[in-house]
Homo-oligomer: 214 residues x 2
């Protein structure tokens, strides 16, 4: 198909398609004349992925590029894929987070694959998901909001159930499918989970504190 058709099918304006081509986020088409190229279904899929990453995912162009690099040069390590996905969508975190309390929690839960990452890297790169947990727990502390260990344990257990379901459904037939699943799953499922938690709170609250009958 020509670029106008590619634009129509993918829903991405021609100018934007040309921009992605210039930025090398989208591979060039097959030249059929000096001024004309043919595109195929892989271009359509790629454009849809970029659009989802930029649009609903809210990723920057740099983040999109990082994700696409993972797709184009797959390492075969899903852990790397998750790492990239989490890094690109994670909020900016301070560099000097103390991970010691979080490490204790990970060991407590037997999450040793995560715990082993820390300090395991020559550049001593802080793992972003660990830092995010440390910052979040620090926020509770600052506000004087106490969450005891048994409650944290249950949070961890519930999130492990969520994660197991998600990882067991991870498509392995292609790196593109996997990165789509991981990145979109990370970005787009978060608001679903938070909304579900709020509704579940309402529901559990209604069970504990029934409204007076009519």
């Amino acid at each position: 198909m020509r670029i106008s058709e590619l634009s129509r099918v993918s829903g991405v304006p021609v100018a934007t398609v040309k921009f992605y081509l210039r930025e090398r986020l989208l591979p060039e088409g097959r030249l059929t004349s000096p001024n004309q190229a043919q595109y195929d279904d892989t271009h359509v899929q790629r454009l849809r992925l970029i659009r989802a990453l930029v649009g609903v995912g809210g990723l920057s162009l740099a983040a999109v590029r990082e994700v696409l690099t993972q797709i184009d040069e797959p390492t075969g390590l899903t852990l790397d894929l998750l790492g990239t996905a989490h890094r690109v969508v994670a909020p900016d975190l301070p560099d000097d987070v103390d991970l010691t309390p979080v490490l204790g929690l990970l060991r407590r839960w037997g999450w040793n694959a995560c715990a082993d990452v820390v300090g395991n890297d020559d550049e001593s790169r802080i793992d972003d998901a660990l830092a995010a947990l440390a910052v979040a727990l620090g926020g509770l502390d600052d506000a004087g909001f106490e969450v005891d260990l048994p409650k944290l344990d249950r949070y961890a257990e519930a999130m492990m159930q969520v994660a197991r379901t998600e990882i067991s459904g991870l498509p392995v037939e292609s790196a593109t499918a996997a990165v789509r699943y991981v990145v979109l799953g990370t970005v787009l499922i978060e608001p679903v989970l938070l909304a579900l938690r709020r509704l579940a709170q309402r529901e559990a609250s209604a069970a504990r504190f029934p409204l007076p009958g009519p």
Copy 2:
């Protein structure tokens, strides 16, 4: 204590304390002379609550006022408290969200207390938590990211476990304690849960795709 002492103990600058007094977010002290008032521990607690709501919670002054009104004029209905908490911390949502698909899900899960809220109000006020779920699910749809029903069921189940733990721990001895718990719990626990999910994904991924040994 005098206002300078109140400022020192609460960690809130005197100018800010005066601002909260003018805005009537903080009750006046007991006048001991035309220009001097005495404050007590209830003022300290109140200032800490305001600080947590504004600071870590990131609430606007209007949202803080709404929460404080709930504390000062408690209705005794925890459902109202949760509603206020969720409304003030929820992102802005469009008004014209179609709740039909979400209602189907709620009935499927037997979350009837939530489902019954819809259309039950003369002003046909859309419940924010319901709208948030509808918008989040709409985002998945737009991105062509399919989440099948069994997976949604597991998400709902995991979040219900989280919510049950939270609601069973809700303090009932005072409205202040309850609103602190609900609002801070809503705002400050969300990043904890999201960070835990990411770590759990790494952990589950390492279990499914073990790294090659040394």
